[in-house]
């Protein structure tokens, strides 16, 4: 009687998984690194790893449909003559015209305005569409200075000096030639069809002492009217926040690695920067150590998806949050309605991230005149407003459950964490324990 070895189940490597193998093959075939849009896709500790405790015998809740729970936020109260007041603590992050289509930018302005919040320009200057349709518009001051001019600076409602962004702290940008239409080229003072590189450093200042002088210049040009934000990627949130405050910022924006980009190397997006959750407490501590918490406002961005995320960011000490990727999804980005076309591009709805190629079936991350017709700015703006309304209601629901009559009254004490990692990053106890990793004890 012969013995047959039973066949073993084919086993794939956890290290060399299917995605890794495909990336090695792609690199070998093309000789170039992968560029894509969006933020980090790897799993990192996030707001899902936190829970609210809610009310109990020692904390009484507020009545959901009768007792008021405020959501307004004032930004820029430190130095600006004209700080801005938003109805909700959720703003729209900077995204460029060029990366996004004109109708998409208009829709962002419309949606933000309907919701009583602000939207932000991007690395391509200010367009008439977004200025005209945005009651409150934040004008980004970027290393490239594409489209920068004093007229737009003065008709902005706030100025955001961009030092970095979460998807690529320390990185510049690239807008590939296929998205450089005549209009984009003119706004950026570059020939049509070439790849446009955006510098990673500002051309005329280096370091925190220079930044202070640069902020002074911007204030002088705008007669000290505009709130000045400083946006940093989630690299060294404690020191970056402290230095931004020292440089005179009215508002600090901290963007974690889940924050999106229009186009950056995959290796950069996935391997540089810290998760949003890890950035908030250090930034808040910097403000507290300087006696500036709530005096200099903190905006947190990177992977904010719903009202629970908003409430958790605020509970950890932020004054507001900012959304980019989620706003694009609300407009229609990655919608299954276009699945057939995503398939033709080698993607699927929900995974399409080749935003730099300008072929977006949803008409959002493109300059193709035919594709961009798919975005109805009025309808898309309404969708964004609906989404912002839901997020706000959700955050209020949680705040009331925690007994807070304003979302800013949420606090770390209202939270616990589901994992040791999240507990350490957020500085809140592991659920069921009083243990905050990193703060003594075991």
């Amino acid at each position: 009687m012969s013995y047959h070895n039973p066949p073993t189940t084919p086993r794939k490597s956890a290290t060399f998984d299917d995605y890794t193998l495909s990336e090695i093959r792609r690199a070998a075939a093309t000789g170039i690194y992968d560029i894509r849009g969006a933020g980090a896709k790897r799993k990192v500790p996030h707001f899902d790893d936190l829970l609210f405790l809610g009310a109990s015998i020692s904390r009484y809740p507020l009545e959901g449909y009768r007792e008021r729970c405020g959501t307004n936020v004032v930004l820029g109260s430190r130095h600006a003559k004209k700080p801005i007041e938003l109805k909700i603590p959720i703003t729209i992050a900077g995204m460029s015209f060029g990366s996004l289509s004109g109708p998409a930018k208009e829709a962002l302005g419309r949606g933000a305005t309907l919701s009583g919040t602000s939207t932000t320009t991007g690395d391509g200057g200010m367009t008439e569409e977004e200025r005209g349709h945005s009651k409150t518009l934040v004008y980004q001051y970027l290393p490239s200075r594409y489209g920068m001019n004093p007229r737009d600076l003065r008709r902005a409602d706030a100025i955001e000096v961009v030092v970095g962004q979460g998807a690529k702290p320390g990185g510049g940008g690239m807008l590939l030639g296929q998205k450089i239409s005549d209009r984009v080229a003119e706004m950026r003072t570059l020939p049509k069809g070439i790849d446009q590189r955006s510098a990673c450093r500002h051309p005329d200042w280096t370091g925190p002492d220079d930044l202070e002088i640069k902020i002074l210049e911007l204030r002088e040009i705008t007669d000290w009217e505009k709130p000045i934000y400083v946006k940093v990627g989630g690299a060294r949130p404690y020191y970056d926040t402290a230095l931004a405050v020292k440089a005179g910022a009215d508002v600090v924006v901290v963007d974690g690695m889940q924050g999106g980009t229009a186009a950056t190397q995959e290796v950069f997006i996935e391997n540089v920067g810290q998760p949003t959750l890890a950035c908030i407490r250090p930034a808040v501590k910097a403000l507290q150590d300087l006696g500036m918490h709530r005096k200099v406002q903190l905006i947190v961005s990177g992977g904010i998806r719903n009202g629970a995320d908003v409430a958790k960011a605020l509970a950890l000490g932020a004054d507001a949050v900012s959304i980019g990727t989620a706003a694009l999804v609300a407009l229609g980005d990655n919608d299954p309605h276009w699945e057939e076309e995503y398939q033709k591009l080698g993607a699927t709805a929900g995974a399409y991230d080749d935003w730099h190629e300008g072929k977006d079936p949803a008409g959002i991350t493109t300059q193709d005149p035919e594709l961009m017709k798919r975005v109805d700015p009025i309808l898309a703006g309404r969708r964004l407003a609906n989404y912002l309304k839901v997020m706000t209601l959700e955050a209020q629901t949680i705040a009331r459950a925690c007994g807070k009559n304003h979302v800013h009254n949420l606090e770390p004490e209202d939270l616990c964490a589901l994992s040791i990692e999240a507990a350490a990053m957020a500085g809140v106890p592991l659920a069921g324990t009083g243990w905050v990793p990193g703060q003594g004890g075991f």
Partner: protein, 245 residues
């Protein structure tokens, strides 16, 4: 406006009285506010700033056709985002003089520090002394004329406009340059990525003569200069050019 600071002037020029602003007595904020507060078509077109003593952001955001004479040296960003003003620094200028200038002119009688004319979109910046590193970085249409030498990495990512240098240029001139034109009379220590020497055709001679005339330079001839510009090999990413970066 502090009327007491209106200097004595000949009777025939009284309607264009010169406003003297002493930064030892008045604040930078008052100066810039006064310049920004001018009505369109105002006849308050002549300004003199005393005792700048290295102040930053002197006469930034000027948006009227006024003449501002700064008597002394200034710090960072003098004349930043100038739109139509004629600003003269009777001294030296710190980093970023004339940054993002839109139109008008700025003349620096002495030397200029780093980033002179950075991202400038229009107008004329004349530096009668030397300019430090990164002169004309990311320039977007401005014309810059430097009588002396310029430092390293000048015209980095220069997109548009003209940079004229009567002296020498430092290392990596015009690195990653786009469509700006560079004219250097002296030696260039080294050229940056994608920046090459180019032929001086008649249209460039005419252009350079005009720039020299506008800068008030009469002791240099266009034929003495060499033109540099983009090889345009890095305009679209090609992996075979990766070593150039």
């Amino acid at each position: 406006m502090n009327i007491s600071n209106v200097a004595a002037a000949p009777a025939r020029e009284m309607e264009f009285a010169r406003h003297v602003f002493d930064l030892a007595e008045q604040s930078l904020r008052e100066l810039n506010q006064a310049l920004h507060g001018l009505a369109r078509g105002s006849n308050e077109t002549s300004w003199e700033v005393l005792n700048p003593k290295g102040s930053h952001s002197v006469a930034v955001g000027v948006d009227q056709p006024v003449a501002v004479d700064v008597r002394g040296s200034v710090g960072y960003y003098c004349g930043g985002m100038n739109a139509g003003g004629t600003i003269t620094v009777h001294g030296s200028a710190g980093p970023g003089v004339g940054e993002n200038m839109m139109s008008g002119s700025i003349v620096v009688k002495g030397d200029a520090s780093q980033y002179a004319g950075a991202t400038g979109r229009g107008g004329l910046l004349v530096i009668e002394g030397n300019a430090s590193s990164r002169c004309g970085i990311s320039m977007k249409g401005i014309d810059i004329v430097v009588r002396g030498n310029i430092g390293h990495m000048s015209a980095f990512m220069a997109q548009s406009g003209n940079l004229v240098v009567l002296g020498d240029a430092g290392d990596a001139l015009g690195d990653s340059i786009y469509e700006a034109r560079l004219f250097v009379r002296g030696k260039v220590k080294s050229l940056g990525a994608d920046c090459i020497k180019k032929e001086m055709r008649p249209e460039h001679i005419a252009l350079l003569q005009d720039l020299l005339d506008r800068a008030g330079i009469r002791d240099a001839k266009p034929e003495e200069f060499t033109r540099y510009g983009s090889a345009r090999k890095l305009y679209n990413f090609n992996i075979d050019n990766a070593d150039a970066y």
